[in-house]
Amino acid sequence: MFNKIEEYLDALKNEMKDADPALVLDALADAREHLSMALEAAREKTPDVNEAEALNSIIEEYGTPEETASAYKEVERRTSPILKQTIKPRSLFGYFFGVYVDPRAWGALLYMLIAFVTGIFYFTWAVTGVSISISFLIFIFGFPLALLFLLSVRGLALLEGRLVEALLGVRMPRRPLFSHQGMKWFDRLKALLTDKATWLMLVYMVAQFVLGTVYFVAIVTALSFSLAFTAIPFIQTAFPHTAIMYYNGTSHYFPVWSYPLCVLGGFVLWTTFMNIVRGVGQLHGRFAKWLLVSE
């Protein structure tokens, strides 16, 4: 017997406690949408309906928490993020050089490039929003402004989650969890302010600025070094009088025998970097999940 929608949601959450937190949020959002709409319909039909009874007959049709949980787990098992299906490496060597055919590595590289842009935007948005919201709180219109800003933080976090899932292959929430239905906007603001998730999202937005910059610098540095090494033989051959190094007035050239080593070195350097990128991508995914998906 459930007397309130919240009780059902708690039971559902409990039933799914070993499932992915992002999947749980999706399931809760769906159940909340359905149950409150069905209850609303029941109320319209007979205004003096016994809510607990109506809710139980609705749940009878919707499914017990156990049934609902198993339905989500079942479907999730069949459709996990595309990036999760990676090629099984044959050996350590294969794993190292197989990085070029691993979609996770390319996804992570792209994500790290994008993080530079989004990081700047998040940081600007967060800092501007916080300072404007706080300073305008002395006016009446400061409150709705703060509410709008906090809601925008939630929205951006959801968007970032989609990006992380698409490029890093980490399961993130696919829909917002609204728990403030029927609240006055002032209560809603209070609920958002006291919700730990909002603050963690803000922390993420600020941290993303630092991380995005570091990622970008690392990519540019690694790319230039690798390209430079690979290009040495070609540059020395094409422009014979261009010394690679000047020291005490004498020019130093790479000897011809070292050409293959230079090319190989550049290639191995970039391959190593791609491997690091793959690892960092996984770490960032976990970091994003930790801050953006709160239980």
Partner: protein, 118 residues
């Protein structure tokens, strides 16, 4: 109707695993407007048999997985009362898939019917 055994329920569930995608796609294909989960559940309830074939809660994960495979697309719209609703709409890929699935369904149905008649 007699007490439904666990085995029967499992059989029903396995059948539904395939048919629910087909049913949802065809419902959304026929509807001119985007629909939300509760609306679809109501529609199925009205046109379905007396004994519900599936729990309404199982529709939602299927809707989402169809969206994941870009056979459906969805938008969230706020509602006056209660939480926002997610409206689903069939995509071009979805229509193409539905056409193929219908063909498979027709053949499966014919095949099973022929076997059952003996």
């Amino acid at each position: 109707m007699a007490e439904i055994t666990a085995q029967t329920r499992k059989f029903q569930k396995e059948l539904n695993a395939g048919t629910s995608s087909l049913v949802l796609l065809s419902v959304l294909n026929r509807s001119k407007e985007p629909m939300y989960g509760y609306q679809i559940a109501k529609l199925l309830e009205e046109s379905g048999p007396e004994v519900p074939m599936m729990k309404q809660g199982t529709l939602y994960p299927v809707l989402r997985s169809l969206e994941e495979n870009s056979l459906l697309e969805s938008t969230v719209e706020p509602s006056v009362s209660g939480p926002p609703r997610r409206y689903y709409k069939i995509t071009k890929d979805g229509r193409a898939a539905l056409e193929e699935w219908l063909e498979i369904w027709k053949q499966t149905k014919k095949f099973v019917d022929t076997i059952l008649k003996g």
